[in-house]
Amino acid sequence: MLLLVSFIILFLFLYQKKRLSQELKMQKVEAEYKDELIVATVDIQESERKRIALDLHDNIGSLLSVIRLKMYQLNKNTSNPALQESYRETTDMLDDMLETTRTFSRELMSPTLEDFGLAHALENLCTRIHADGIMHTSIQIVGTYRRQPLKTELNIFRIAQELLNNILKHANATEIKLLLVCSDRLELQIEDNGKGFIKNEKTPTSGLGLKSIETRLHLLKASLEYIPNLKKGTKVVIRVPLQE
């Protein structure tokens, strides 16, 4: 009788163990599937950005250039000062449109990133923000940057882009400092002198931009830290483990 009772208790124990291991297996499969889905989503997003950037550059950009040329020729062939003034204004507007199109195109797809790597792309990004005169932006690179797989570089670049956009939009800052530390891992520090950022439970996951940052951090197996206790501004540190 004791033997039978022992058998039933043992059965119960083994069953629970088997069920738990099966549940763990299911969770693992689900997590893998979720990761694959995230990778696919990010890939689609990037390829779509690339397509739009190319369309902007090759089609709209080219058309605008042609229109600008035509306007120039029309301006040259007319002697009416009123028309000449009108053509000049239109040509200026076209120049603005052309520049805006190029900026959009560069933001959507950074050729520097693909050709020269993350460090150069970040330098380029800082130079552009600085050149626009919006904010004083500087970058310092510590250590020797070795190129990483394009997907890794692209994800870090997009995170930096998103964080910089947030600073430009919300921080009321006048200065941004970037620090890229290259060692056995990559550490990117972005610091501004704006109004600061109060980290609460809701903030890191709300908003499309922050969701995108979170997804990319997950793909990179990276961490993001908001460093508090700064007298003014915010400091964000991203740590990315490097692949062998």
């Binding site: 009788m1 039978l4 039933i8 059965f11 119960l12 069953y15 088997k18 069920r19």
Partner: protein, 222 residues
């Protein structure tokens, strides 16, 4: 307390324990699926047979062997039908019906050829035990391979099948260890039946737990 007093105490406890599954069956009957309703019917029948058996012995001074012969067959049919509801596959459901026919045939042979007259149907009971142990093990195998039940200890079929396994395996073991010549000796007789009473009480308690636990949808469909 002597062995006779212990024997009487266990006898009363064992007989009274049938009230537990009856109570659980009455209180929870509305929630039951087909399988559990068959089981409640079996519990009532079992109590009725015990009652009739007492009346036959005490008032009519007659052997109750005939009654138990019929009861063994009905018990087998009801429990097999209960097991049948625990399985989904048609082939297995069909196998249970074949098992009923096979056991019916064996029971007839035992009744008319091997143990005729007023003798107790110990052979048929032993074979019934073997069938029940096999069915229980099949159930445990199915549960273990499918792994669809989230909390096994909250599954009524688990308690009921455990009750059946313990009761029939215990009784079969008792039957195999028993010696007809020794059973006639009073001390041995008391020990033999005391164990049977304990098994019966455990059987009823586990059945009551099984009937009390609300059956989940998985029970009725698995």
């Amino acid at each position: 307390m002597g062995s006779k007093e212990i024997y009487i105490l266990l006898k009363y406890c064992s007989e009274a324990s049938i009230l537990l599954p009856i109570g659980a069956g009455i209180l929870r009957f509305k929630r039951f699926n087909t399988g559990l309703r068959i089981l409640v019917f079996y519990v009532f029948l079992s109590a009725l047979v015990d009652l009739i058996s007492v009346i036959i012995i005490h008032y009519f001074k007659h052997s109750n062997a005939e009654l138990f012969r019929a009861y063994t067959l009905i018990e087998f049919v009801l429990l097999t039908l209960y097991f049948r509801t625990l399985f989904n596959r048609k082939a297995i459901k069909g196998f249970f019906l074949i098992a009923v026919l096979v056991f019916g045939f064996i029971d007839i042979i035992c009744t008319y050829l091997l143990q005729p007259g007023d003798e107790f149907d110990s052979y048929a009971s032993a074979i019934e035990g073997l069938f029940m142990i096999s069915f229980s093990l099949c159930y445990f195998y199915k549960v273990f391979t499918e792994v669809v039940i989230v909390k096994l200890e909250k599954e009524s079929s688990f308690w009921i099948v455990s009750a059946i396994l313990i009761y029939f395996a215990g009784n079969l073991f008792l039957f195999l260890c028993s010696d007809n010549t020794l059973v006639s000796i009073q001390e041995y007789f008391l020990k033999y039946w005391s164990i049977d009473f304990i098994l019966n009480a455990i059987f009823n308690i586990l059945l009551a737990i099984g009937l009390w636990i609300t059956p989940t949808k998985l029970t009725s469909s698995s």
